[in-house]
């Protein structure tokens, strides 16, 4: 559990009174919060879309339903972040999702990668949701009230995503020789990209100083502390000396992302003024 200097025991009530709303954000902090929100929104939008590519194609129908439903949850989470951005003066959610070009998005490379086999998508889902859970736990006790509220709202759905990820990683990791091999290949491939979820941006120190969220490096450590024992439990090894893949937070994405956007934005772009 991430500990911030803010909420602890009796400090809690005083702290609640000191939480900031968007009206009280200084321009510098506001800019940093917007940076953070775009990262969260874009990650969830891209992964929600990617995971929806399994609809109708998952190994069994019950898994298909669960995975598709979680993809819908991700879209809902993305929308919640985009709405908060809109309240801070950014464009409306539809414009953000469907009209921005690739280099304007701030999602990490992990969520841009192709669907892959089921093992890859399951490992990605596990890595991503453990990170979202760590992040939201921290945001809930952070000083920016609107974001703390959003994080609290997502808690229940994220709890299930985490449960689902852990169960599947454990079962598939220790399943058959084939499932184990595919899972290990997926872990080896995705771990560096997963570390890239925590790519620091210029907003990093500002947000930490404002006690809105801990530094990315601290979140990464907390994430590793959760994830590595579970991988071990599943009979999977973590790549030694994995180097994080950065660039996503600065708008540099793998080629697969351009194709994702083309796919996702196609219908909306045919007629942005259409009423659905």
């Amino acid at each position: 559990m991430i500990e911030t200097q803010t909420t602890k025991g009796t400090q809690e009530t005083t702290d609640m009174a000191q939480k900031t709303t968007q009206q009280t954000l200084s321009p510098q902090i506001k800019s940093a919060v917007i940076d953070l929100l775009y990262r969260l929104a874009d990650d969830n939008l891209a992964l929600g879309h990617r995971n929806s590519e399994w609809t109708g194609l998952a190994p069994i129908i019950e898994a298909d339903i669960a995975f598709s439903s979680m993809a819908q949850d991700k879209m809902g989470h993305a929308l919640t972040f985009y709405k908060l951005l809109e309240s801070l003066g950014e464009p409306a959610p539809d414009a953000q999702a469907f009209l921005r070009l690739a280099d304007a998005f701030h999602c990490c490379s992990l969520v841009c990668l192709e669907r892959g086999d089921w093992a890859l998508s399951i490992v990605r889902h596990f890595f991503f949701d453990e990170a979202m859970a760590v992040r939201c736990q921290a945001l809930m006790t952070g000083r920016y009230a609107p974001l703390a509220e959003v994080a609290a709202k997502l808690r229940g759905e994220l709890k299930y995503h985490v449960m689902h990820g852990r169960l599947n990683v454990t079962k598939l990791g220790r399943g058959t020789e084939e499932s184990h091999a595919r899972m290990q290949t997926a872990v080896d491939r995705l771990f560096p990209h997963a570390l890239g979820m925590f790519e620091p941006t210029e907003a990093d120190q500002t947000i930490a100083n404002a006690e809105i969220q801990p530094r990315e490096a601290d979140l990464c450590k907390a994430w590793r502390d959760r994830v590595e024992p579970i991988l071990h439990e599943a009979g999977l090894s973590v790549p030694a000396q994995a180097q994080p893949v950065y660039g996503g937070r600065a708008g540099k994405h793998p080629a697969t992302f351009a194709r994702l956007l083309e796919d996702m934005q196609e219908v909306y772009r045919l007629d942005p003024a259409a009423k659905w």
């Binding site: 019950e62 898994a63 439903s69 299930y160 449960m163 169960l167 079962k171």
Partner: protein, 103 residues
Amino acid sequence: MADTNDTQWPVFEVFHQQARGEPHVHVGSIHAPDGETALMLAKEQYGRRQACVHMWVVPTDAILATDYEDADIFEHGTDKSYREAFGYQTTKRAREIGDEDEL
């Protein structure tokens, strides 16, 4: 009870509870390799559209049941109305004698 033509995973019966204190209600069944997975998948399959605070999955094989052929054992051939409580007018009698505790 097992269908020998079924080449799928074992079947589990799913029960959900809409609110704490209410009875668990049977909502359907699900194929899964084991109980943990059944519960995880049933959450979405049976929990994503309706209110639910609690869910059970039970291996179908664990359920012992009567046969529909034997539905007649539940019928009352002779008058059993003495088992019903309509003869006990406790509220009316309590009011008559002013029994505050009973009311």
